[in-house]
Amino acid sequence: MAERDRRRRGFRREHLVQALFLAPAALFLLLFFGYPVVKNVVMSLQEYTTRTFFTGEAPWVGLANYATAVGSSLFAPAMLNTALFTLGSIAGQFVIGLALANFFKRRFPLSGFLRSMLLLPWLLPLIVSSATWRSMLDQDSGILNAFLRNLGVIQEPVPWLTSPSVALLAVVLVNIWVGIPFNVTLLYGGLQEIPEELYEAGAVDGATGWKAFWHITWPNLRPVASVVLVLGVVYTLKVLDIILGLTNGGPANATQTLAVRSYQESFVNFQFGVGAAFSNILILISLVFAVVYLRMNRRAVDE
């Protein structure tokens, strides 16, 4: 009896120690992810402004902040820009990333080295990339306009970041550049897992080049490709550094997205309640994609 008691007590102690291994991380996740998400929901239902910090009062206002957010003249443009920014970035990153991954699948001298160097844009601080591109896209002194003029593509310098009609395109181009390495890396990994035998068998049946891509590569790559696409969407929806660094949401609000709106309402206008409403709308959209992602990931893991 005493022996069993002691063993049971040892067992319980063991469990306690195991739980302690997880406790700091669990506490951190709770305080720095759980609390902010809940706090954002609460804030979005309050009149939370600079005054709140002095008086401590944040009166409940129901859904008024959401009404302000959705009713503002910038809501529709921000939704449209968010959609265009996300779609454009993802399409560009994915197509170029897939092409590069396919190219580097072949074995040739230096292929491994070149492929890892390709990662550099992904590792640079985003604000560094923004600053660099901002100098390159400058209307008068930028290298891009000088280059295009020398090629004869354009006659007049293009105001990439100062004209409302092209600024969103410029921001998308920069974000594509930033996202290519991530796409290459994951897609390259996916390509590596397609058995070489499939291509050999395909070649016997005459499937080479594009045919091999459509009938062998694409169907086998689809699970990885879906994960890359969904993750890309979730990451792109929340992009802030690139836009703030390049255009600050301007010119004439041409590059306002939901994330930029949320930042500006909270930290420029100090309307934390409205900012929270914007970011909750953003979370809701992300959540839809996150659920899709998790379903896919689970399938990818199960298989």
Binding site: F21, N40, F103, F108, L119, P125, A131, T132, W133, S266
Partner: protein, 288 residues
């Protein structure tokens, strides 16, 4: 996908490979070099512009034939303290993130509980929460706690980038530790904590270094928390310094680009030191 998969894929027996692969394909190397040159042109341009004499932006030469270090002198004079602040915050984030995440990763890798999948799910989802949501809530909380404009405040906030990532990537490594090694130590009377410190951590040294480098890089690159959680010049990371350069009419690109080059050094060091782990890092945070 892990590094293991890459290495196994590389060692496919020669007879399974297409015969052509055995001949060197220099044409492919040339095309690959060209692609890399296009992709990395902005990085080259950053370095080039940083070496141009200041005030000469209208006619920036393609090659820095007469390199000027004026930009770097200005950068270090104006941004030196900010670089130092970034360094302190990033090192703090590494220490804090590893201390919190490594035991959790071990537990999630080696013990069987019913709720482990739920915990992993929560960690994955946490990576998808927009930083602005966290900043919004932390600003209010930090204001009450007096953590605005403070290094500990930024270390804690920056750890939100690092901790979920470190847990996932270290767990992937620790899953490969044979439980028998730890069990042997336990039989000899070592407690769980002691076994973890004296056996698991030394075995996982490589993954600790990789995860630590990434934690450093995440924190070093952070811009959003620096922007929202600091309001004075007391504590100003270099990313915010660059942003402030951009906010005022940019007249001196060589100083901005010199700061950008200095801020890129950790990324370059990571690329050189941990090259083979980076691919695992890129995917480790994304796919469980």
């Amino acid at each position: 996908m892990t590094t293991l998969d890459i290495t196994t894929a590389r060692s496919v027996p020669a007879r399974l490979r297409p015969r052509k692969a055995n001949r060197p394909k220099l044409g492919h190397t040339a095309v690959g070099l060209l692609m890399l040159a296009v992709m990395l042109f902005p990085v080259y341009w950053m370095v080039n512009a940083s070496l141009q004499p200041s005030g000469n932006t209208l006619t920036a030469d393609f090659l820095p034939l007469n390199p000027s270090f004026e930009g770097y002198e200005k950068a270090i004079a104006q941004q030196g303290p900010n670089l130092l602040t970034s360094l302190v915050i990033s090192l703090g984030t590494v220490v804090f993130s590893l201390a919190v995440a490594a035991p959790a990763a071990y537990m999630l890798a080696q013990f069987r509980f019913r709720w482990i999948n739920a915990a992993l799910l929560a960690i994955l989802i946490s990576q998808m929460i927009p930083g602005i949501v966290i900043a919004n809530a932390l600003y209010a909380a930090y204001n009450d706690l007096g953590l605005l404009n403070s290094i500990p405040g930024l270390i804690l906030a920056d750890s939100t980038h690092a901790i979920p990532f470190v847990i996932l990537i270290m767990r992937a490594f620790m899953m490969r530790i044979p439980p028998s090694i730890v069990e042997a130590a336990r039989v000899d009377g070592a407690g769980l904590v002691r076994a973890f410190v004296s056996i698991v951590l030394p075995i996982s040294r490589n993954s600790l270094i990789t995860a630590g480098l990434f934690a450093f890089l995440f924190s070093w690159s952070d811009f959003l928390f620096a922007l929202t959680l600091t309001t004075t010049e007391d504590v100003r990371p270099v990313t915010l310094g660059i942003y402030q350069y951009l906010g005022t009419q940019v007249s001196n690109w060589s100083a901005v680009m010199a700061t950008a080059v200095l801020s890129s050094l950790p990324a370059i060091v990571l690329l050189v030191l941990a090259q083979k782990y980076i691919a695992a890092g890129a995917t480790g945070g994304a796919v469980k």
